[in-house]
Structures are given as C-alpha cells and as structure tokens.
C-alpha cells in the first residue's frame, strides 16, 4: 500500500477556477450579535453600538427600492431585494450597477414612466440577466474601472429556469458578478405558474390540487444553490427574509470577494403561497425552522457553515400556514405526503448540520456599552463600508 502523495497542485484543486485558498472561512458570515433583549434577532436596537447594527436600521440606508412600487401588500421579494441591495450598496460604498431579470421585481418596480430603483439599474430580458451582468463587468474591466461592482438579480423563474443557461455560463467563466436570486417558488407575476423551484405538493396554476398526487410532483425541480456549488465558484449562500443579520452579512461577505458569487434568498409571496400579507416573515421563519429551507454558505463547492435551527418546528406547521398546501389537510389529510416533506426537511437537517442548538444562553457582558440615549437615532451613519478584502 502506498500513501497517496500530496500533489503540489493541491491548492489548485478547484477544477474550474484554479487556486483555492488554503483556508476557507470557518465562521459563518454573520457573527452572532452578543446582546440580550432583542439585539441578536431584531433589525436594530437603540442599545447596540453602531458598528454592529444592521444596514436596515440606518435611517440613511440606500433604500434601493423605494416607496410607491406596485408589489402586493407584504411582498417578500420587495423586502428581500431592498435588504440585499442596500447591503450591497453599503459594501460597495455606492459604486454599484444592478442588472435585473424580468419578473415581478422588474414589473412592479419599473412601469413606464416610473421607477422605484435608487441604484444604477439595468433591465434587458427575462433570460439574459447573468449574461448582461457579465457584459457590464467585462465593460468596466475593459475601461479599467475596478471600483464599480456588478450585481445581478432575478426571481426563481428568471434564474432557475429561463436564465439558467446564462447563469451557468457566468459561473463557468467565474465572471465578477454577484447574482442574487429571490426565490418565491413560482412564476408569480404571470399568475403563479410552477417553476423549477416550486416545492413538491405545492398547488400552482399549472400544478392543480387534483388527482392522486395533487400539486407539484415529487422528484422534479432543481436545487440551484447545489448546482451553483457544483460550479465550484468562490461563494454560494442561502438566506431568508426572516434572518436579516445573516442575509446582510452574506451580502457583505460576497461583496468582499471577486469572481462569480451566488446568493439564493427565500422570499415568501402572500399571493402565490396563500398567506396573510402580514405573515411574510413568519412563514419564512417556519421554512427555515422546519429545515425545509436550509441556510448555509459554501465556498469553492464546499459547505463551510450553516445557521442552526433555533426553535425547531415540524414541516406541518409550515405547510398549514399556506393555502397552496391546504389540500394536504382537507378534505382528507395526506399524511403520506406530509411525511415525505418531513423526510426532506430531516435530510436537510442532516446534510447541512442544522440540528437545533438553541441560543447559547448569553451571560452578562458589558463590553458592548453603547452611548446613552444614542443621538444617532435619526442620523445614524455607519462609519465606512465593510472592509473590502480580496479573498
């Protein structure tokens, strides 16, 4: 028996992108805010030092997507897009171009002659956003402008299905673009048709709740974060609108890197999912806390961290909250289907190591003493953008 020798090319093991760093991140992007009361989970807190507050708590945030857009009440995508682009603008110190695929996000934000975007914003077609973004990045490179960052974004339809070829090409070439997919699990804009991201058993306009296997079929669909990982691009992450601190930290981490990066954000759709407009964040929380939507990060094809479940719930809690799964409970309860979905969640929990760990109880720690009666309530200005260190 011979011991396999370590090749000199071990650090170039990444099959597409050459050099893989010796050390990947070991800590999650979002360092837990060590703060009792609500600091760890809420958007802000008057007692938190400025540097650990979220971008969203800053009254001077970009508001990339401003008021007056035509998204439905409680739109998760509008919320997720503002969260993500405000964080990206913060990281890029305002020097950023956003390319948008067609979809709800484009339609509700930019009907002629108005737009809600307060960032440099470009829209071409449904399927070509990754290619357009690659072109924008190439153009700036040709112009010698390395200070301007490029972000592309789209819904799950434009990303998982229609723009998939362009996206895979962008990944393959390792173009310097951060692509953000807002996943609401169907084509909502055109009337809730199934997409490649629609979960099994969900009712959509094209997967009606009829027959022996009502709703979307099992065994189809694509897990795009894993497909992105298979391209071994520098960074892939999932996030959800129920965990702002994690989402912002991931955008910041992604913006600190070069090359092709991908973030997949869960954004519930009250219309398509059949939830109350006020339940957008709470139903996203049920998705992550049941394990159906795992929150993790991967670098160069390897999972480097995941966000453990804090208060585990059975998938039933998540399903029951949505009318698109109502046929699993009435007129006859479909335990067989619920169990299959629970098995999916259980598999995610095992695969991404999501086992509940609870909050590690916090102990008194006054190192985070803030100024009293923080005058920054109205004029909060975060010192500078996060450090842009090349990974």
């Amino acid at each position: 028996m011979t011991t396999p020798e370590t090749t000199d090319l071990a650090d170039q093991a990444g099959f597409h992108h050459g050099v893989v760093p010796d050390v990947l991140h070991t800590e999650p992007a979002a360092a837990p805010v060590k703060f009792y009361q609500v600091g760890s989970f809420a958007v802000g807190n008057r007692l938190l030092p400025l540097e650990v507050r979220s971008v969203q708590s800053d009254p001077n945030r970009t508001n990339a997507l401003t008021s007056g857009h035509r998204a439905c009440q409680g739109c998760g995508e509008a919320l997720g897009a503002r969260y993500a682009l405000d964080a990206a603008m913060h990281a890029a110190k305002g020097r950023m171009v956003a390319v948008n695929a067609t979809g709800c996000l484009e339609v509700f934000s930019t009907p002629y002659p108005e737009t809600s975007w307060r960032v440099a914003w470009l829209h071409s077609l449904f399927g070509n956003a990754p290619a357009v973004a690659s072109g924008v990045a190439a153009a700036y490179k040709a112009m010698g402008r390395d200070d301007i960052r490029v972000v592309a974004q789209g819904g799950d339809g434009g990303t998982v299905d229609i723009g998939f070829g362009c996206l895979s090409g962008m990944f393959e070439r390792n173009d310097d673009v951060l692509y953000i997919c807002y996943d609401n699990e169907a084509y909502m804009n055109t009337g809730i048709q199934r997409s490649g991201a629609t979960p099994p058993a969900a009712r959509t306009a094209t997967t009606q709740a009829v027959g022996d296997e009502p709703g979307n079929v099992f065994g189809q669909g694509k897990d795009l974060p894993r497909i992105a990982m298979a391209h071994e691009i520098p960074y892939v992450a999932t996030a959800s609108v129920d965990n702002l601190h994690d989402l912002e930290a991931k955008v910041h981490r992604a913006m600190s890197m070069k090359g092709a990066r991908y973030i997949h954000v869960l954004v519930p759709c009250p219309l398509g999912w059949g939830t109350a407009s006020s339940a957008t964040v709470s139903v996203a929380r049920l998705a992550t806390q049941s394990g159906l939507f795992p929150i993790f990060e991967a670098e160069y094809g390897e999972v480097v961290s995941s966000v453990p479940i804090r208060r585990r719930v059975p998938v039933e809690d998540y399903l029951k909250a949505q009318k698109r799964f109502a046929h699993l409970f009435s007129p006859t309860r479909r335990d067989d289907v619920i169990e299959r979905l629970q098995a999916q969640a259980d598999r995610n929990i095992r695969r991404y190591n999501l086992l509940p760990q609870g909050d590690s109880p916090e102990q008194p720690d006054l190192t985070d003493q803030p100024p009293r009666h923080d005058p920054a309530f109205t004029s909060q200005t975060l010192p500078t953008a996060a450090e842009e260190t090349s990974h």
Binding site: H69, R82, P364, F377, T378
Partner: protein, 543 residues
C-alpha cells in the same frame, strides 16, 4: 428634464415611483400604541416598572431611580420586602423566567443610597397643612407625595422610631436598618416634620390645631389572641410584641431553648426565624392546615426550612404548660377545612408565640363624627377619604391586603386625592391603557437570557446572625436582568418596523418620538405589526 443633456440613446425622462401613492390601497392601518404592561398593572404602588427598566437597560440608573421615585419613595426597601406581584404577572415567565424586577429595584435603591441621590424640596409651597398619623409605609409615602405637592406635612407616630411595621414587623435580616433609615431620612430632608413618641389620642383635638387635612395610617399592631388553656407558669406572648421588643429593647426577649410559634403567615415565619437568631435551639411552627394552605409566601417558608426551622402541619394547640404543650392532630375535610381528629400528642416547649394575625388599634377614633369602623377597619371611599370630610385613611387600618407595597400605594393615592381636596378639586386618574397581553408579543426576537439570581447566605450560617440573608445584584447582573425586560406593549426602539416594511413606509423620527408611518405609501400589509416584538403596533380599520 432638459433633453439636451440626456445620455446617448436615452429618450425618456425618469420618474420616481414616489408619484404612485400606494397608501390608497390600504383597508387597515397600523398605529403605534402604548399598552399597560402586566407588571405595571400588578404593582400595588403603581410604579411604571417597564419605564424604569428601560432606563436601567441603558445604564442610566439615576433616571431609572427617579422614575421609581415618582411613585414610590422606597426603592431599596421595596427591593427587599416587596412580594413582587409584578414578577408573578411578568410575560417573560411564559418565555423562560420572569424578569427579576425586585432585584433590579433593590440595586437601584442601593445605588441611590450609596451615591446620595436626592430630590429637591418643593419650590412652590401651598401653605396648606396636612397631619399624617403614623410613620409606617403608608404614612411616610403619603407625607412624601404631599410634600412634593408643596404642602406642609407633619407626621406623628406613637413609636420611638419611624418606619412602623417596616421596623417593628420586618426583621433586620430582611431589611437592614441603615437602608430603612436612609430612605426615611430622604423623605424628612424634603422638609417633612416628624414627631415621634407623639401618639394621637384625640383626633378632634388634633384637627383643631389647624390642619387642613389628615391622613390616618396607624397600621395594625395588636396581635390577635386565641384562648388557649394554660398553666400559670406558661410563657405565651404574641408575635407582634415580640418582634417589636426585639427591635426596641436593649435586653432581647429570651424565649428559652425550644420555641413554638403558632400560625401560618409571614409573621409566624419572621417570629420563628428571629427566635432562632436569638439563640433558641429549636423553633417550631405549628399550623392547623397544610403547607400549600399557608398564607406565608413559599420562599419565606423555604428560607425558614433552610435555617432549620421545623414545621408541624395539621396541628392545633390545646393546652400549654411549663415546658410542654398538648397538640391535637387535624385532618382536612372535603372543603379543605381542618377538623379535629381526637388524637393528641405532647410537644416540649419553653414558650409559645402567637402569630394569628393583627388588628388595628382604633380607639382614638371613638366618637369622631363621620368615621365608621367595620370589621375592625376604617371604611374609606374610592378617594381613600373616610366619612369625615378631609380625613383620609390607608394602609393596614383600611380594608385591603396588608403588605408594605399596598400601604405605599395607599399613601400615594391618598396624597393625590388630598392634594386635589386641598385645591378644591377632584383628582381624576388618567385612564389606563389596555393590558399588553402575551399573545401580542413576537417572542422570537428575545434572545435566551437566564434569570440572574441573588445570592443567599447559607442557611446554617445565617441562622445565628441578623446579617441580611439575600444579597444584591452586581451592576453587571442588574443591567443584564433589566435587559431581559420585553417592554410589553411599549416601543423600545428595536427598528423592526423600520426594517420589515416592504414599502419603506416607516420613518424613524427620534428616540423620544420613535417611529412614524408614512400613510402615503403604507399599503397596510401588517408586517410591522406581526414582527413587532413587544406588541406596540395595532392594526385598525380605515375609516
């Protein structure tokens, strides 16, 4: 826009979606509300607990202390002797454990005494004179508030020291005397006149001295007696006099080697624990019902047990003689009432302390027109006024639960009504907000934070001394504890509404005013309401 200056190939002007006022879609609107936190609702002294915890969270302990002082002049005393009904009603108990409000209050009270924080005497005097009869918690509380209203206040007390039951009923291992003295002195420093050993025997005579109003708060100092056949040399005394003598006499009353205390209330516990501290080898509490029926608070029973106090349930004392007594065993009937069983046993004991409740000494009210005494207590109306105009009463001598905190609350309430009475007006309390119930909270946002416990002296060590049993929290743990407050029903600036609005329709105004909804763009989705941790936003229908 000037078309000349458009970039190449751009032909259209850009308009902002701000032109599209999506607020017209709304059928319900979110509004910010202030609700009554359950702790505030439960506080017999009417403290705004949530508000003072808010200051304590920030480390602004003086502001927190001043907020308590607006309602209660005894934070350090409260932090030791209050039975904290606030904690029993705290919503956090449904998340993990109730916030240790009482411990934080004590920290603030002690901090004030240590730092010498004071209140300024009133600047505008009304010239009205008020007599307060009794320098217990109720009388001193009333005197404090009346003085702050600018009245001239005289407090008369029969005893040699101020404090009433806080001194003569509560042993010093629960309330050290320098704490009591410090908080009483702070009231006197406001310009309140205290006349000790000045028993008011004749109310009409006192009224004739020219007082514009009177607040009666003489307490209930007479121990109830029960008829127990006893031999001549049997040593029997009542708990109230016993505790009083411990406090005032140079030679502490000696009860012998084995002391039996008869009763099941907090006073019985205090008497037994005190006897143990004064050298009794055994102190036994005899009570006719069971532990769960005992009026004494569970933690006091537990502390007594830790100190080696013995408890004898379901027993009544039938006969007392020198050195021993006869006890009859009882059994509870279906209604939970103890019935004699006819089984007797002997108990060795050198003395018997009766702790069977207290009565008010109301002899000085005999013949005072308008004042009616029923069931041993003085009748008062909703403004704490007796049937005699200008004469108010509170504390243990009126029908109510008999605790220091209730007494302090009476003092405050009476002071407000007396002040209004002196101004020829009627005091109208502000309407109370609806209660912030647990179902309004979104507890996801509250991180797990373990309750910070106060250290206790070990039972065996403390039983021999009058050192304080429970020690205070450090600043660190007091602030941690304050930050466990969930701020039920009152905004505490967490930015959640500002963050979760998909329409960017929530504005930050300032720390005092909080947030405002921009109704031009608010679509009424209700996300801010659903994700508000503390339930301080409500949805209401559009008109």
């Amino acid at each position: 826009m000037d078309h000349q200056h458009k970039p190449f190939a751009i032909t259209l002007d850009v308009g902002s979606s701000l032109a599209n006022q999506t607020g017209t879609w709304r059928t319900e609107r979110p509004i910010y509300v202030d609700l009554l936190p359950p702790c505030n609702q439960a506080c017999p002294a009417g403290e705004n607990i949530q508000q003072w915890l808010f200051h304590a969270e920030e480390g602004d302990y003086q502001a927190a202390w001043r907020q308590i002082m607006a309602d209660n002049p005894f934070p350090a005393i409260m932090g030791r002797v209050c039975y904290h009904p606030c904690q029993s009603s705290c919503n956090r108990a449904e998340v993990d454990e109730a916030v240790g409000i009482n411990a934080v209050e004590r920290f603030l009270g002690d901090e004030a005494l240590a730092k010498g924080w004071r209140l300024d005497p009133p600047t505008e005097l009304t010239g009205k004179r008020v007599l307060v009869v009794g320098a217990g918690p109720s009388g001193l509380s009333a005197a404090y508030h009346l003085r702050r209203f600018g009245h001239e206040v005289t407090v008369r007390d029969a005893g040699p020291m101020a404090g009433g039951m806080m001194r003569f009923g509560i042993p010093s291992y629960r309330l050290p005397r320098q704490i009591l003295d410090g908080e009483v002195q702070r009231i006197l420093d406001l310009g309140v006149t205290l006349e000790l050993e000045h028993k008011v025997e004749d109310l009409e005579g006192a009224l004739a001295e020219g007082f514009d109003a009177v607040f009666l708060a003489v307490g209930a100092h007479i121990g109830k007696r029960a008829y127990i056949p006893a031999g001549e040399s049997a040593k029997i005394l009542d708990a109230v006099s016993y505790l009083h003598d411990v406090e005032t006499e140079d030679e502490k009353p000696m009860l012998g080697r084995r002391v039996v205390v008869y009763g099941g209330g907090n006073t019985a516990i205090d008497a037994a624990r005190t006897a143990k501290r004064l050298g009794a080898e055994e102190a036994i509490i005899v009570y006719r019902r069971t532990r769960d029926k005992m009026p004494a608070h569970d933690f006091e029973v537990q502390e007594a047990e830790e100190e080696g106090i013995l408890l004898k349930w379901l027993s009544t004392i039938k006969h007392v003689d020198d050195g021993k007594m006869v006890v009859e065993k009882m059994a509870l009937d279906e209604t939970g009432f103890p019935q004699p069983t006819g089984e007797f046993e002997e108990l060795e004991a050198d003395s018997l302390v009766l702790a069977l409740g207290q009565e008010a000494d109301l002899g000085f009210l005999d013949g005072v027109a308008g004042i009616s005494v029923e069931d041993g207590v003085v009748s008062v109306d909703g403004s704490m006024m007796t049937g005699r105009a200008g004469v108010f009463a509170g504390g243990d001598m009126v029908p109510a639960e008999r605790t220091v905190t209730v007494a302090v609350g009476h003092g405050k309430k009476a002071a407000r009504h007396i002040d209004a009475y002196l101004r020829g007006a009627a005091y109208q309390p502000e309407g109370k907000h609806p209660v912030a119930t647990f179902d309004r909270l979104t507890t996801w946002y509250y991180a797990d934070a373990p309750h910070q416990h106060r250290a206790h002296l070990e039972g065996a060590r403390r039983a021999g001394t009058f050192d304080e049993v429970v020690s205070g929290l450090t600043e660190e743990s007091a602030q941690f504890e304050a930050r466990r407050c969930m701020s039920c029903g009152n905004c505490f600036a967490c930015d959640n509404c500002f963050g979760v609005c998909p329409d960017n329709a929530v504005k930050k105004v300032d720390i005092a005013k909080g947030y405002a909804i921009d109704y031009d763009y608010c679509k009424g989705c209700g996300l801010c309401v659903a994700e508000c941790p503390c339930g301080s936003i409500s949805m209401v229908p559009e008109e």
